[in-house]
């Protein structure tokens, strides 16, 4: 365990658009570089190859988007303690690639568990456009009525059969065309949105998945590790509302002469 004098900083960020095709490891590398560029004074591990003490929450599968990803980092004990936490979010967003935006930053109380331990379930929004609505409703009902739902997947190079039904806490159509909401448990064995999509019979076609919330449960109530409001009209909320065109970001016209336009996706 790291020493108690290392304060822990928690950051919440979103991942939208083209960058959803980067992996969990890729995102970790982006963060390391951005934190170094931002001059955030991190604590480092001891030993042969010291590395910054950063821990990420549940891995987001490659190809999925998210409104709420998290990381915790340990601050250098020698750090003077005057890092203005409020200013970190916009400063780091500017240093991170397009599609990753920091929404909140806060110091974590001593004694709080790690993200991996604490997060019990996640909400997902799934989009299945090629199945007609009525049939989709039937498939959802069939899944919910099944006592057991076996999916075959690979673990440590071996094919295994897992029952994912207990981990599907909720599954419903939202009303928007092809849009579903799912709540999936993370313990004891997590279920991936791809498993649910496969169970819905859409594994071969491009379907979209977005993690909308991660939930911690304590004493019968559930809350997010760092809650944020999504004020209507902001770029990301807007985007989430119109996820049929999710890679569009507001205010990112290409620079006429190309001098590093931040947000210069082509649309």
């Amino acid at each position: 365990m790291p020493p108690e004098d290392q304060r822990r900083l928690r950051l919440r960020f979103s991942k939208f658009g083209k960058i959803r095709f980067t992996s969990h490891r890729d995102v970790a590398r982006m963060w390391e570089r951005a934190l170094r560029r931002g001059g955030v004074r991190m604590a480092y591990s001891q030993g042969f190859a010291p590395h910054p003490l950063v821990s990420f929450g549940l891995a987001l599968p490659t190809g999925c988007e998210s409104m709420g990803e998290y990381l915790d980092l340990r601050l250098d004990p020698a750090e003077p303690g005057d890092t203005p936490v409020d200013e970190l979010a916009p400063a780091l967003s500017a240093l991170l690639p397009d599609g990753i935006d920091v929404q909140a930053a806060a110091l974590v109380e001593k004694g709080e568990g790690s993200l991996q331990q604490e997060v019990a379930s996640c909400d997902w929004e799934l989009e299945v456009l090629e199945v007609p609505g009525e049939e989709l409703q039937e498939r959802v009902e069939k899944i919910l009525a099944s006592p057991v739902l076996t999916v075959r997947r690979e673990r440590k190079g071996r094919p295994v059969a897992d029952d994912i039904r207990p981990a599907i806490l909720a599954l419903e159509l939202t009303g928007a065309q092809g849009r579903l909401r799912a709540e999936l448990a993370t313990h004891p064995r997590g279920v991936r949105p791809a498993d649910v999509l496969a169970a819905l019979g859409t594994d071969k076609v491009p379907a979209r998945a977005c993690r909308t919330h991660q939930w911690i449960e304590r004493d019968g109530t559930r809350f997010e590790p760092l809650p944020v409001e999504w004020p209507a009209g902001t770029a990301v909320a807007e985007q989430n509302a119109r996820r049929a065109l999710p890679h569009v970001r507001a205010g990112n016209q290409p620079d006429p002469r190309g001098s590093r336009p931040r947000g210069a996706w082509e649309q």
Partner: protein
């Protein structure tokens, strides 16, 4: 032209490592295309993770995008699964920045860093929707260019590439842009007019304007067939690297790539004179970047990228004047917070001083790599890699005593005059290195990595008859048997069959193009990937074309024979190369002309350029351990950095 992203996006969930197709790197530019701007698609004919770090491509990318009359984007070879998905969906080759189709570009410019990628070049031209053969292209088709080290024998790709560029690209890329811009402004006249104009640019070779003649199935010469084409095309050389501090904003990828670090080129060219080394021959003379500019590029680059590792790159970085001071300045720089590590690829074995090792070690000890190349002193005199055993053991002792536990040694087998004792010598050297290591640590690893030698154009070994795959395999087996039982010593080797295919693409003449085309048509892409390489494809293609490996690869040439690259000049006199070949066979070494009188290889005198170095005296141990007298001569073409010249 519209972005292909909506179509590409549908393919990505089904392919491996989709992040290599999304672009969005820090430093990526989305330039606005339009009239009056030549649109370049810079292509690296291998996967994104291999191609992205390529410095040559990044340099040209910045230089072109700074011009008001040019725009440049990048593309890489889609992996096999993505290519299949693209072809099935009718998606052509696209740029990673704005996902524009290749058809939106006026120029497709390939970086040729290795010969085995040639089938990928053909595949990318095809995926771009451009006719494969130069003769089938019309005014509306993109101009296909290629540059890089492999361009120095352009003939195997002569059927597919409209023009090759020899040597440093920084200056010539602008001249080419002007020629293309003028042709586009003139409403794309005859394609031949464009080719003729390009042939007038120094360093540009237009194969269609030359005819290769054969007698009795053997090349006898390559001559211009058009008055616009010079009899000999000579390479371009940037006189002073200080004029070109690029890349200034290196690309930082979103996903994992090879060499995932900041790279700063500290000098170009090398005059160590290793006879097997094409890079050392074709990039002469030595041009150092001023140390102050190196420091600035390092500091700015680390700040810009957020990397915590910088590689100081060159063909032999330990030869950089004042390398110890430069490394110390980087490691001690307060703004780096003591967290930056420096890596020095291609270390010289002899002069790797304990001081430099200790400085790098302060931060992080990566593995150390040395390249003695030959297993015995006799072998090393033949290849002019004049490292004594004492040099090697001294360097390895320094490494292990400084705390490293892993040392990698590079060797070549299949060298001219090689005997079995030279091969066995590799195991002896390796075993001895593990013994040295165990004086300091309980357990150490020494990896001897062995490659099959491939003779290259414009080197003293260009006349040599390459070993057959069977002979290389025999030598590998010999070496493995010899190394058996040596604790801590691991032998790794490259596929001998791949060395032979590389030899074919390296020294083949114009007729090799048909072979490459057959291999590509048979599905032979990504041939430099061991899991994809298939010698059978090459052998059957050779047979179908009436050519043979014994003729192209395994046959020793004599002095009078016409070579496929005789009309291309890297500045080196043919007589110099032949003399050096004879010296090699006689086991005679040659000194480094940075610090000794000129022996007139031709590289400086032919171009009116000279070595640019900060110190006219060799570094400690710089004699390569031969005890040669390296006193400064009086006819050295050396210009000192930072002084009036």
């Amino acid at each position: 032209m519209d972005s292909l992203w909506p179509q590409i996006e549908r393919l990505l969930p089904g392919v491996s490592k989709p992040a290599r197709y999304i672009g969005g790197e820090q430093g990526a530019l989305c330039p606005e295309h339009g009239p009056g701007r030549v649109a370049w698609l810079l292509l690296y004919p291998d996967t994104y993770e291999i191609g992205l770090p390529n410095q040559g491509l990044q340099i040209l990318y910045e230089i072109l995008n700074e011009r008001p009359d040019a725009v440049a984007e990048r593309a890489y070879a889609p992996w096999v699964d993505m290519e299949a998905a693209m072809r099935a969906a009718g998606v052509p080759l696209f740029s990673v920045e704005q996902h524009l189709p290749a058809a939106a570009f006026d120029v497709l410019a390939f970086n040729l860093a290795a010969e085995l990628v040639y089938t990928n070049v053909l595949n990318l031209i095809d995926l771009a929707g451009v006719p494969l053969h130069t003769g089938d292209r019309g005014p509306a088709d993109a101009l296909v260019l290629a540059g890089g080290h492999c361009a120095f024998n352009p003939e195997p790709l002569a059927d597919f590439v409209d023009a090759f560029v020899m040597g440093d690209g920084e200056e010539v890329v602008g001249e080419i842009n002007e020629v293309v811009a003028a042709w586009l402004a003139g409403d794309r006249g005859e394609r031949l007019d464009l080719l003729r104009s390009l042939a007038g640019v120094e360093g540009v070779y237009v194969p269609a304007l030359y005819t290769a003649s054969y007698e009795d199935g053997r090349l006898v010469g390559t001559q211009p067939n058009d008055p616009a084409a010079p009899a000999e095309v000579t390479k371009r050389t940037v006189a002073d690297l200080a004029d070109w501090p690029y890349p200034a904003r290196p690309l930082v990828p979103l996903t994992e790539v090879v060499h995932d670090r900041l790279n700063v080129e500290v000098f170009r060219g090398c005059t160590r004179g290793c006879r097997f080394c094409q890079a050392g021959m074709i990039t002469r003379p030595v041009r150092e970047r001023p140390a102050a500019q190196v420091r600035e590029l390092v500091n700015r680059g680390l700040e810009w990228t957020g990397h915590d590792e910088v590689a100081l790159t060159s063909l032999s970085t330990a030869d950089f004047s004042g390398i110890e001071d430069t490394v110390r300045d980087i490691v001690d720089e307060p703004s780096h917070g003591g967290r930056v590590s420096v890596s020095l690829p291609s270390l010289r074995v002899d002069a790797f001083t304990v001081g430099t090792a200790a400085q790098i070690q302060k931060v992080r000890r990566t593995g150390l790599t040395f390249a003695p190349e030959g297993g015995t002193w006799r072998m090393r005199t033949v290849i002019n890699k004049l490292i004594t055993e004492e040099d090697l053991y001294g360097a390895v002792d320094a490494a292990f005593s400084q705390g490293w536990r892993r040392v990698k040694l590079y060797f070549l087998i299949g060298l001219p005059t090689e005997r079995d004792e030279d091969v066995r010598g590799i195991a002896e050297l390796g075993a001895r290195c593990t013994e040295i290591g165990r004086r300091y640590h309980k357990s150490v690893t020494v990896v001897a990595s062995v490659g099959g030698f491939v003779p290259k154009a414009h080197t003293p070994f260009q006349w040599f008859g390459q070993d057959t795959a069977a002979e290389l395999e025999r030598k590998v087996a010999l070496l493995r048997a010899e190394a058996r039982g040596a604790k801590g010593l691991t032998i790794r080797w490259h596929d001998p069959a791949a060395s032979v295919a590389e030899g074919l693409a390296s020294r083949g003449d114009r007729r090799t193009g048909a072979v490459i085309e057959r291999v590509w048509r048979a599905g032979g892409t990504f041939q430099e990937w061991s899991e994809r390489f298939d010698l059978g494809l090459w052998e059957s293609a050779l047979e179908a074309e009436g050519l043979s490996l014994s003729e192209v690869c395994h046959r020793e040439r004599d002095q009078s024979e016409a070579l496929p690259w005789d009309h291309i000049s890297a500045g080196l006199h043919r007589d110099f190369l032949w003399g050096d070949w004879q010296d090699a066979l006689a086991g005679a070494g040659v000194e480094d002309c940075r610090w000794t009188p000129c022996y007139d290889c031709g590289a400086c005198t032919g171009f009116g350029v000279e070595h640019v170095v900060a110190s006219a005296v060799p570094p400690a141990g710089g004699s390569q351990g031969t005890g040669q007298d390296l006193r400064q001569g009086d006819r050295i073409p050396v210009r000192l950095v930072g002084r009036a010249s």
